[in-house]
Symmetry: C2
Subunit: 329 residues, 2 copies
């Protein structure tokens, strides 16, 4: 079954709950081809930025009330973007900030997104050693009852080394789930350690070569493995270098929009089919109603319309200026 799905060019809608045996790269390819876009919407709820009508009343530390508002907000964003994009990326930190109440909201948001046929990439940047890595991997990867959270993929941090990454890979493979390992991050200070040069190549390149090895070891016949890489849109040169060096590695590309990168900056992330990269935008989409260009077009009550317009605008930009346009053909 895995083989037949992979070699097909038809679009497949995967029902929730029946994904366990299907390779992550094949599910991802199917979702990108179905929606004809590599846009991922980041779910980064923040109290002070919520639409006015969703702001909870009461104190700043009424965690259950804030968690309830995050849940409503994210569900309403999902309602808008589910027909448009292949995946959402909840940012764990903003939910964790609320303590256990945030955990309940995050679990609800993950389940809701999956019920709407979205892939869920949890941005947790987790890692630890040995059996602790196993616990994190089981926590987040896969839809079966042995995962406490049930996401489709998780971002992970490589600093601890190979024996910390391999348990994630093993469990991802078992679960039909994916990983995105931090390689070159989008922040201005990412170079402090990532750009140091050892044995003639940068640290991020050392990490990239290991991630590519893991991707090659887990490759499906669509040409990509279960292990992807996080590479910031804010570093287009490195993005081009890494695309060449990592032929089997799907990229998750943050930094588009609010962090300043545009469609031309991410053009090198794609392969010739328009596959191989997901481009994430968070604030510029979910809080589009607060951007000047949108606030004049949409009133407070139309904040969801602003989310839709911003998503469509980003889809259009990527279609016009990158190989993602080939997904239409």
């Amino acid at each position: 079954m895995l083989h037949r799905l992979g070699s097909s060019d038809t679009c497949i809608v995967l029902a929730p709950g029946v994904v366990a045996l299907i390779h992550f790269a094949i599910r991802l390819t199917a979702a990108v081809r179905r929606t004809k876009t590599p846009v991922v919407v980041g779910l980064d709820p923040r109290l002070e930025l919520l639409p006015r009508q969703l702001q909870p009343r009461g104190k700043q530390d009424d965690w259950p009330a804030i968690a309830g508002a995050y849940r409503t907000f994210c569900r309403e964003v999902i309602d808008v973007v589910a027909p448009l994009v292949p995946a959402v990326k909840p940012q764990a930190a903003f939910f964790e900030q609320l303590g256990p109440a945030g955990g309940e909201a995050l679990a609800d948001v993950i389940q809701y997104a999956i019920s709407k046929h979205l892939l869920v990439i949890l941005d947790g940047k987790r890692n630890d050693i040995g059996s602790t890595a196993v616990a994190y991997a089981h926590a987040y990867l896969g839809h079966d009852s042995l995962s406490g959270w049930g996401a489709d993929a998780l971002t992970v941090n490589p600093y601890l080394g190979d024996d910390a990454l391999r348990p994630f890979v093993e469990i991802a493979q078992q679960q039909g789930a994916g990983l995105f390992v931090l390689v070159k991050t989008s922040n201005p200070g990412s170079g402090l350690f990532q750009d140091l040069v050892a044995d003639g190549k940068s640290i991020y390149r050392h990490v990239a070569d290991f991630v590519q090895q893991l991707a090659a070891e887990t490759v499906a016949d669509v040409g990509y493995g279960s292990v992807g890489a996080v590479v910031g849109a804010t570093y287009p040169e490195q993005l081009a270098e890494l695309r060449q060096a990592m032929p089997n590695t799907w990229f998750l590309v943050p930094g588009y929009g609010s962090q300043g990168a545009g469609a031309r900056d991410v053009a090198e992330a794609f392969d010739q089919r328009g596959l191989g990269a997901l481009v994430n935008s968070s604030r510029a989409i979910i809080f589009a109603f607060a951007r000047e260009a949108y606030s004049t077009r949409f009133g407070d009550a139309q904040w969801q319309d602003a989310v839709e317009a911003a998503t469509l605008e980003m889809i259009h930009q990527l279609h016009s200026e990158t190989a993602a346009g080939k997904l239409n053909g």
Copy 2:
């Protein structure tokens, strides 16, 4: 007040809730001097290792039941070790594995430990960029109502660079809380990236130098800053090198016991006063009842006695073979 506490040699018991303005290194020094030991007990609950009488009945995915068992187990471990050690280190992964129910248990365990005058170092190995780092820092650092979890310190990962670490430092300083940044981790594969050599020094040493800078910037008059380092007991040579290179940095040393390191391996982690290092043991203490040497002395019903005996044994080993013995004088 901060100054007077720092220059005093007397032992101070800090009441929960009144810590916000007291520097983390001073609170830590006070706790180590009060208990006369640098031993930290790691709270790593695992279903299959729980004492038989605490095993929940029912299915392997009955998360609330397992979370309840973890909560009871950790509380009972805390009851035993609170009079003996300065701090506990809950491992977030094992709680997160249970989904939201695990979050509730973790929050309860943190609060319970603090109510017993233990410092709580949450082992979450978090990090992210910019405002997301701020969210993680607020989530975990400090006892006030703006922290969803209320721990005293958090382990953090350095890969993302300086602008990802500084928000944690700023909020730690505001909260009287601490950080332990991964420098040289205890796992066999830690060398893959950490031991690469750039500009004549290893990557872990590059990280160490930056962490020492942060420690020096936040130093209290006890000589240590709010920012500490994780350095594995399994690498005694690096421990000695880093102790020299990081005079203001308190070390959190994992790898003792189950990972194979002993008292002599950690001897170089301490300063001449017996300060400057916390040595963690998790499994070898909390699951001591399952170790051969203890299971013959203690029956199933005496598992807490085994925890106490293993804690006292580790305290004694460190007193006998390291400068921690000076804490007695």
